[in-house]
């Protein structure tokens, strides 16, 4: 099973350039319903106002990091099942393990390409 093109996606990153890159890659992959947030707290507010089918989040942001956002999402019964992909430059093993334990669905290390993004989205919805 692959992700439906109408899937509402929330991109969370504090760099507008990276949001623009991911938005364009998603557009190339057929996803048009894309929203954005500049950090974890803004993302959480948006998620409590709208149901997203997928969150694609950076790790290192202030004031709330992607890791904190992930833990908040997983501990909230209303949001807990939202698929969550971490897209980050944090490439230490302990980061990946910590994210896995916190309930991340997949993990992409920057820089990445459209094929990697596609395969990870597919893996999330196939699993």
């Amino acid at each position: 099973m692959s992700a439906d093109a109408s899937l509402p996606i929330l991109i969370v990153d504090d760099y507008k350039t990276m949001i623009r890159i991911i938005r364009n890659l998603l557009k190339q992959l057929g996803f048009e319903d894309v929203d954005e947030a500049a950090d974890g707290s803004e993302a959480l507010t948006k998620m409590r106002g709208r149901k997203y089918g997928l969150v694609i989040s950076d790790w290192n942001m202030e004031p709330m990091t992607g890791y904190e956002l992930l833990k908040e999402v997983r501990s909230d019964p209303a949001l807990g099942s939202t698929p969550f992909i971490m897209v980050t430059a944090e490439s230490k093993t302990e980061n990946v393990i910590a994210a896995k334990k916190a309930g991340v669905n997949n993990y992409i290390v920057k820089p990445f390409n459209a094929q990697t993004l596609r395969s990870k989205i597919d893996a999330v919805f196939a699993g």
């Binding site: 350039t17 944090e90 490439s91 230490k92 302990e94 992409i108 290390v109 920057k110 990697t116």
Partner: protein, 186 residues
Amino acid sequence: MALIDDNALRRELKDIANYIHSLRREIGALQANDLRHKRIPAAGQELAAIVKATEQASNTIMECAEAAMAADPSDPAAYKAFVADRMTVVFEACGFQDITGQRVAKVVEMLEHIEARVSRFAEATGAEDAHGPASDKEALEAERKLRLFIHGPQLDGEGVGQDEIDEIIEDQPASATQTDIDLLFA
């Protein structure tokens, strides 16, 4: 006996005076005000200019790509001319790499200058580093980074690649093993 003590005292005071004189000379050579008011702010300005230039170049390149992807291909000649025009702008935007390279070289030169002065001062005064963070702010930031696993981008050869990440994501058991726990606290 009192005369010997006086001489010893004079020698001690002379040594202290010489040390203070030497310390003042080394503090002067450090040119701390020059570092604080000129060189470090100048390095900061160069780095800020690099961030701005790379952001502008990225935006220009992405605007061109977006325009090319959205262009109407029904008139092949016009489409080709439009895409060629946008690609020329992309090449122009890539010129940022030359300028940022020169700016980075200036920052490296400033850092080497600062390093030389601080090294000379540390050697001349026999300075030893105090243990722990230099301020409460630094301590809080270090604690936050440790707690939230914030390391930033790794250099080539450090960190793990996408393939290794995929293995961890696919194979890592949900419950923590001692090895996992050790890794978290490594």
